[in-house]
Amino acid sequence: MLLEVAGLKKSFGSIVVADDLDLVVAPGEAVGIIGPNGAGKTTLFNLIAGGLTPTAGHIRFDGRDLLGVALPARCRAGIGRTHQIPQPFEKLTVFENLLVGAVYGRHQSEREVAQSCGEILERLGLLRRANALAGSLTLLERKRLEMARALATAPRLLLLDEIAGGLTEGECTELVATIREIRKTGVAILWIEHVVHALLAVIDRLVVLNFGRKIAEGVPKEVMKRPDVYQIYIGIEA
């Protein structure tokens, strides 16, 4: 398994945001996560790729325990992530944003990574804006930059946090096509999304979270038909 989460628990005081969570992602697999607001989805990402330390349980990436492994080292190990609210380096150009990820995430020189950065920008439709300041980008472009920057680190697992939120129908379709292309390169994907139809167009497996607990998991279409999930699903779409 590429990612193994077992018995994961996280609480802030008396508030439990992750409760005995188990989750696995195989190499090249695409797994989706849905759940209402406050279900602990982003917290799960922060436990896997961020600075949060779990209260109990463990997370293994490629067989290596991530407990005590610092943020930059997790990135270099092959975990890439995008943020719900894009966090571009505004005074750097789009290309320089990617360079940071490529140079430090892969331990290569600027010259060595230029070609692959250019290719990623082309694939994500940002080539035209390569030498523009990241601060001048539109929301869609910022979301694409989040993904491009994460890809520049050459991840084996890509965590996408509500990347389709706030996009128009057409933009969403384009995004789904892009994510499918990324999948073809062998990158495993773990994707949190409220826009369920976009999610279903990509993933192999669906996990439903509620109040920090996993309440359902399995083949997406079947999971969506379950009455308890359906209820939450209605809640999301409303």
């Binding site: 930059p72 600027e110 920057r149």
Partner: protein, 362 residues
């Protein structure tokens, strides 16, 4: 299936800084040359003023790298100015070394002191870091006030033998037909010019290297930089130690020129940190040009308004507040934003080499 093969294959290349920088480099070289030859024509007052301008600019560049890029808002850089100054006095008065040799040694020793200091202050964040650095500087001041061979709390002076033992003074005396004090100022001026040019070159070199890329990212969004593999702690530590070395050397030079040192003056938060912050903030933090603009404005204000005493300080504070409120990117930021100007280009551009279409069935 042939679709993918028929798609143009693009070759990309990285290009750092454009052709405009060559013109800028020639102009910079010309300015340095004019400044180097200035003592031939200029009076002693101007030379002394420019020495002051040079070391304030060098200090401002260091603080800008620290605070503007690495996010280390230190209010304790006077620790290294004072340390450098005292090291110069100790090495020349007690150690019997030549002052010019003492300056680089002061830099190395400052870096060595910066390491354990960093281990303490790096445990603190934000405002606590700022206060922590200040407290450490006060500790340095109190420690040096206890050292009796260096004058304790009242301080000490360099002997005329030491101040005139700097190489080149005799040469300047005969060349320009000057008395020893004037010749001494000219040599100090050259050393100050060399040091400010070296500081600018060092900061520029750092910003153009891969560390500069990381520093730009840390400046804009620290957490995101860490998530992309940038080892924040290591880079911050490197910047802290490097700026301590540079600040220590500047401190040594300042007190070689002053020839008299006391703990209160050498570890003064007002002279070596507050004014420096003022320079960086009004010029524009997080750019290399900002401190240059700020240092010139500060020098002009000091030159023409210092006679007004307290009103001068009130004016200085008011200007600082106005700039922070209405031009938070500083005066350089106001100009540069509108015209996309840069004197120290560090931009990396992506260049598409050429479209090499794959030939299919000619």
């Amino acid at each position: 299936m042939d679709d993918a093969a028929a798609r143009p294959v693009q070759t990309f290349r990285i290009e750092t800084a454009g052709g405009a920088s060559r013109i800028a480099a020639s102009i910079a070289l010309l300015i340095v040359l004019v400044l180097a030859l200035l003592p031939m024509f200029a009076g002693r007052t101007l030379i002394q003023d420019l020495i002051f301008l040079f070391y304030m600019l060098a200090l401002a560049q260091c603080w800008n790298l620290l605070a503007g890029y690495a996010g280390l808002i230190s209010v304790g850089q006077q620790a290294f100015v004072g340390l450098g100054g005292y090291l110069l006095f100790a090495l020349t008065l007690i150690g019997g070394l030549n002052p010019l040799l003492a300056i680089p040694i002061a830099g190395v020793v400052s870096a060595l002191f910066a390491l354990p200091t960093a281990l303490i202050v790096f445990r603190l964040r934000g405002a606590y870091f700022a206060i922590g650095t200040w407290v450490v500087a006060e500790v340095y001041r109190l420690v040096f006030a206890q050292i009796k061979p260096l004058g304790g709390g009242t301080g000490t002076s360099l002997t005329p033998t030491i101040t005139s033992s700097v190489p080149g003074i005799e040469w300047v005396k005969t060349l320009l037909d000057l008395r020893t004090p004037a010749a001494r100022d000219i040599v100090s001026y050259w050393v100050a010019l060399a040091l400010v040019v070296a500081t600018l070159a060092a900061v520029y070199f750092i910003l153009r290297s891969r560390r500069g890329l990381a520093l730009g990212a840390i400046r804009d969004h620290e957490a995101a930089a860490a998530g992309l593999g940038v080892d924040i702690y290591r880079i911050k530590l490197a910047v802290y130690v490097a700026t301590a070395a540079m600040t220590g050397m500047i401190g040594a030079l300042i007190y070689l020129q002053k020839a008299r040192i006391s703990p209160d003056a050498a570890f003064s938060v007002l002279d070596w940190t507050a004014y420096v912050i003022f320079i960086v903030v009004i010029g524009g933090i997080g750019t290399m040009e900002g401190p240059v603009v700020g240092a010139i404005i500060f020098y002009l204000m000091q030159r023409y308004l210092a006679d007004f005493g307290a009103y001068y300080l009130i004016l200085l504070g008011t200007l600082g507040i106005l700039v922070m409120l209405f031009a938070p990117k500083g005066l350089w930021g106001l100009v540069a934003e509108r015209h996309g100007l840069t004197l120290f280009p560090t931009r990396r551009r992506l260049v598409i080499e050429a479209d090499k279409r794959v030939q299919l069935n000619p």
